[in-house]
């Protein structure tokens, strides 16, 4: 029975993971912005078998709220076995190009807020000397592409931060897994007209994430074929890559 902290608990991928954990009888501390959606999620997980579900309302971009949230989480669960960081948005790249504050807000939401949370969580994990950080990054962070390089920038920062953190936490028995989903059928991607053959279902992605956590993988692409797609994309020379509209 794991004790699980989820930031961005109402996101589709986090929700799918939580359902799979609920069936194992896990205990949850769920963090998200909307209390209504948290309550709907709480009821669902309870019916599915969760041992206990505690809710906490927080906007991840409010850095001053991170500390009290963590204190409340520790007071409730005593220990965190898995911290799943799953909050985020898919920014409108065009809007980010036009307006600096929009760009920086999105960078905060998808990048620095994750770094902030991981920083304070790392200190907690260093004390308990066990547990796993599962951080949802993205294939978008592997290379800057004209269609969404602001999102890519944020996720690249997250991926790199996780890699460094992994090295630090390894020494104290804490594991860090970087999760890079490709296209997933979620509210975040609804209406993008993504190629059907490449779009995975959240439940399928969740299964792979749980497997990666249990196995102690370092970086996983979900589904796995994205590793090969990104390998190709990363190996395209810049003089060609800059001419594409990916």
């Amino acid at each position: 029975m794991k004790r699980i902290l989820i930031i961005g608990a109402t996101s589709a991928i986090a929700n799918a993971c939580a359902r799979a954990w609920a069936e194992q009888g896990c205990e949850f501390f769920l963090v998200a912005r909307s209390v209504e959606k948290l309550e709907l999620t709480q009821a669902d997980l309870t019916v599915r078998g969760a041992k206990a579900v505690t809710l906490y309302c927080m906007d991840a971009t409010d850095f001053s709220a991170h500390g009290p949230m963590l204190e409340s989480c520790i007071a409730t669960m005593r220990q965190i076995d898995v911290a799943l960081i799953a909050h985020g948005t898919l920014p409108d790249q065009k809007a980010c190009e036009q307006d600096v504050s929009t760009a920086l807000d999105e960078l905060t939401r998808n990048g620095t807020s994750v770094i902030g949370l991981l920083t304070i969580l790392a200190n907690q994990f260093e004390i308990q000397r066990c547990g796993t950080f599962a951080v949802i990054s993205s294939v978008a962070g592997d290379r800057g592409r004209p269609s969404n390089y602001l999102y890519g920038t944020a996720k690249a920062a997250v991926s790199t931060f996780c890699e460094g953190l992994r090295g630090r936490m390894f020494k104290v028995g804490v594991h860090v897994i970087t999760i890079k989903p490709g296209f997933v059928d979620t509210p975040m991607t609804q209406g993008l007209g993504l190629p059907v053959a490449l779009v995975a279902k959240p439940a399928q992605v969740a299964k792979l994430i749980l497997k990666g956590i249990d196995k102690g993988s370092n970086t996983i692409y979900v589904p796995g074929f994205w590793r090969f797609i990104m390998l190709i994309i990363k190996s395209v020379p810049s003089f060609i890559f800059k001419r594409t509209n990916l």
Binding site: E36, L40, A43, V47, G49, P187, Q190
Partner: protein, 436 residues
Amino acid sequence: MSDSLYSWGHYPDKPQSGHPSNWRDDLPHLLEQVSRAYGGTLPYGNGRSYGDSCLASTDHVLCTRGLDRFIEADWEAGTVCAEAGITLAEILAIAIPRGWFLAVTPGTQFVTLGGAIANDVHGKNHHVRGTFGKHVLSFGLLREGQAIVCSASSNMHLYSATIGGLGLTGIISWACIQLIPIRASQINSSVVRFSNLAEFFSLSAELDHQHEYSVAWIDCLAKGRDTGRGVFIVGDHAQFGTLEVGSRSKLRVPFTPPLSLINRLSLQAFNQAYWHVHPGTSKRVRGSYEPFFYPLDRILHWNRVYGRLGFQQYQCVIPDDVADVAMREVLEAIADAGHGSFLAVLKRCGDIKSPGLLSFPLPGASLALDFPQKQGLEKLFLRLDQIVHEAGGRLYPAKDAHMSGGHFRRAYPAWEQLEALRDPSLNSHFWKRVTE
């Protein structure tokens, strides 16, 4: 917004734009927004209705599949409440390990809870449990901007209009249902061959009341004295065994072939073989509930085998007093036309009354078969409709893409009550076709 949603039969060819709903608390806003922008909509669950009853007259549907959360469960009493977009498979996945099963299940577990109510689906145990609607304790209905709770004791008129109401009375946002207790997830079944329709009726009279589940498969191509030959299948929940959720590996039809793979040749071969592999004397089989209830769920997208033109299912029910004569006429007409399907399903419906206004089953015999869409099908359907109509029977709106308005209105006299309770922002191609 996602494009190109169809009904299960892929006929009529009216692609729908889907507007996904993911959260119950966002539903009122979404409904209002879509109705205002497109002049109306219709709830769309998992797209398992065969004809045009799940297609919005505006071609803009509100997809409820994202509403798939459980709300509450009482494992002492066997009741479960969930959002309307959850599938029956998802309910079974948590109910079976706790010793409960759906009181009524249709032939696929991939329908949504809301869809099962809106079509008041029935199953192999209609003769003992009635329809799905009979086991619906209460549900939430969003209509005309208001959230209403309906049950047998509150908002009764909307409760009965919504059960079998084809999604027209409002959007069902959640529902509570009563489950039945089981000791094991296995089904003990027995299978016996019968050589004509008369034998079917005598087997049904003899066996139905002894078993929870009863259904027959018919060789719809057999003619003359073989007319109506088939295989009779009865089953019961096993008293001993394990409580295991089915986990069969799934096959998949990967794409839609340009032409139907179901043709005279393949049909003939299948029907012959299927009849001959089954024993003349009763054979007992024990197996998981999945192949017993959901044989076709094993093959994902099986509807694609009918090619780009799609297919229509013909499902009628004929009252008991004339069932044998009229059913024989129906089967002869089908065999003469040489159309037909792999799985023609014949079942005796019982006399348990549904709370639903427009519920399909009536005491009698129900026949369902699939026909690849092609020229000349209307002629056969016209002939079949005539037989069914004269016998005082009716067709199943959930499967229908052809019945005439006249036939519908005579067979479902309560339609005017449903029309009066219809949410003006909701309408389907089916409803327009049969009421206007």
